[in-house]
Symmetry: C2
């Protein structure tokens, strides 16, 4: 069905390019958007039908679309490098991180306590070290920056995928869920800090400077300072901002001001050398329902509800595009398949360190470790940032490494739902302290 | 306040460009989006406060932002030609026309009857001829294509602005409102056909061909064929399409499929040589609530509600950008102010021909004529298309002409609310056949 769709759009594209001399540039972009949106929803549907998160289907359908040239169809090749689609995808990622941030509040983050913080720290340090080790072992000819960056791509748990799986299994309110979700939020933050540090080190090295321990400390300070500063100032002023905005008398003020807040922090993050997604995520964390209650009180939708259609439109563009950039032919290169396998194992084993961080009694440690496994969006976003970085002419993330990271993301995402289902079932039916909650 | 905002963002931009070497490209776009969204909502608020539609405020705030270089501030100049912002604006226009189309159904269009059709036809032909005449009179050195294109920019009433004003005045259900809204929809279609014909003639002429009467007939046939074909096939198949789509099990299917439908028809329109907006508008006309009742039945929002946040995000980008491209300094050129005045007068007087088309009794003809005056988005979209066209190296719409069109749009939009308010008040309080409906 997808092949038929591609064949159709391909022949139409060929037809269109004949007329290209007087075609509005938006027409080509519109066609790519049609292809991406339909493919994403079909892929998402298939994934959901076999018990997987929709994002996995979007990614895999992208991998298929991006490698049709291997079977002789190259009509979709221009899509991979279309600058407008690229920018839609980048803005989509900001929207996604903003949306993920909106799901949590600063208060919740402070409440999840030491258990989540410890789980998150172990779950960031262990995969970072393992990923770095895998890089040093399998890519010995590459610089230390490549190894460190590979480690960074393994750090952040995909809070969206974890939350979705727990919700589907009816376990959103369990003790394990609270620890996992709290830790997933904190490890997003820690992962973003590691990304900021590694990226800054790479940029500094590329300019010929070396990176001293004091520089690393400075970068960590800058990243932490931005996040804490944004959160503190945001919490202090955002209620005032939205209260002022609620007095504006035109349509769509809440969504416009919310997006402007997200984009402003994204730009601010970039200004001090952090990835824009750090700002978008911080913006989401800062904003809470109470900030825009003046809008909701007069019958408007809340920000989370308003952001949904926009993310349904823009976010799949990112995942399909990332899938398309996965070059399956790179796997015939010696070592790429091995790298993918080693990264995936490092990603899964690394997160089992989380089990050691669980402090409370009655919380199943294996479930926590398994729940932290999926990487999803953040790993892909990190890898995509790596594609644009280089040190002394050496690309940090080459096409082959990018493909290996995509495989890691796909496999960690695919194994989580069945593993969690098994693990939660084991706890519920066993003789553990929570055996009271037997499934009817 | 706007100046202060600009000063702030300007100094921040300067700061950012120092760091530009390692800035993610999305960061700059994010900053422009912040500036545009906040300016649009502030401008919209001011316009609404003085009884004008929000779109007028967005346009005027854009004019101010685009001409700050005249007072020595040039920090916003790069925004005018940023390719990503340009593409966001273009996609925003497709969303806008789709949204306008969604407000009407094919059935409603067929029902409004001969009165609206006659009103619309007179209201398209008269301004087209007058605009052509103004061009021939004031721009005698330019080719006939320039004159014809100027006429085309005067044709389409802005159904959004008219509907909004009537709603604000509590007259949405009056006989006049039904005739005006029906005619406004039809004259959008007729305007799009005229645009298609004039544009095709210009493209043909630029290739060295001349345009025979048979060619014009062919183009009219193609445009009418596309619209009728899209409407008939759309009505036949779109219910089936959305019924199939409702079986897809991932989030955001309705908005994704709805947008894909809009973008597909946009691309198809472009493929046969029409403006993509024709397709977007046709897509909106075709879709009705019943097509996606399967989604609504299970508690999801309808398409019109889902499209709102997306249009609140993307549409203001178009209007602010159009405002910014209005070069106030062009008015010192001899004749530009005169051209703007003549176009505005032609636009207002031309639509008074609509009064002649009112067939029923008890419908106030003056109110109908005044209600058709505002041009708004469609005139701007036409002018923007003209910016990219040329015949034998002569640009169809130069910067000066574009500025004159923007003035026409601003003035026709500004005069309508007070004129309609006066005219409806006159009818209600007078001794006419509808004097029963006196304002309490």
């Amino acid at each position: 069905m997808i092949a038929a769709l591609d064949a159709l759009t391909g022949s139409l594209t060929a037809l269109a390019s004949e007329h290209a001399t007087h075609v509005d540039p938006v027409a080509t972009v519109a066609l790519w958007l049609v292809v991406i949106l339909l493919a994403a929803k079909l892929g998402g549907d298939l994934a959901v039908r076999i018990g997987q998160p929709a994002v996995l289907g979007e990614l895999i359908v992208g991998v298929i679309m991006g490698n049709l040239a291997l079977v002789g169809f190259s009509g979709l090749e221009p899509l991979k490098s279309d600058p407008s689609i690229e920018m839609f995808a980048r803005v989509g990622v900001l929207i996604l991180l903003f949306e993920v941030g909106l799901e949590s509040t600063v208060g919740q983050m402070l409440k999840v306590g030491w258990s989540s913080l410890l789980v998150a720290s172990l779950g960031v340090v262990a995969p970072f070290a393992l990923g770095w080790g895998v890089g040093a072992w399998l890519l010995p000819d590459h610089s230390v920056y490549v190894h460190a960056f590979l480690g960074a791509t393994l750090t952040a748990t995909s809070v969206g995928i974890t939350a979705r799986v727990l919700k589907d299994l009816g376990s959103s309110q369990s003790d394990e869920a609270r620890v996992i979700l709290g830790a997933a939020v904190i490890d997003d933050v820690l992962g973003l800090v590691i990304l900021a540090v590694v990226t800054s080190a790479i940029v500094a090295a590329d300019r010929g400077g070396s990176v001293a321990a004091s520089d690393v400390a400075l970068m960590i300070g800058k990243a932490a300072g931005f996040l804490i500063g944004a959160l503190v100032l945001g919490v202090l002023f955002s209620r005032k901002l939205f209260s002022l905005a609620s007095k504006l008398r035109s349509r769509g003020v809440l969504i416009a001001v919310g997006l402007a807040f997200c984009f402003f922090l994204s730009w601010l993050a970039s200004l001090i050398g952090l990835a824009p997604i750090v700002g978008a995520f911080a913006a989401g964390l800062v904003l809470e329902d109470v900030h825009y209650r003046d809008f909701v009180a007069r019958g408007e939708h809340g920000l989370e509800e308003l952001i949904h259609p926009i993310s349904s439109f823009l976010v799949p563009i990112f995942f399909v595009l990332m899938g398309m950039r996965t070059d399956l032919s790179s796997f015939v290169q010696p070592g790429v398949l091995g790298l993918a396998a080693a990264l995936t194992i490092a990603a899964i084993i690394g997160k089992q360190a989380c089990a050691l961080g669980v402090l409370g009694k009655g919380v199943d440690r294996l479930t926590v470790g398994l729940g932290m496994v999926p990487r999803g969006e953040v790993g892909l976003i990190f890898a995509n940032i790596g594609l644009a970085l280089s040190v002394g002419g050496e690309r940090i993330i080459g096409d082959a490494t990018f493909s290996a990271v995509v495989v890691m993301v796909i496999v960690t995402t695919m194994v989580t739902p069945p593993a969690l289902k098994w693990s939660l079932g084991r706890v519920r039916c066993g003789a553990g302290p929570r055996s009271g909650t037997i499934i009817p």
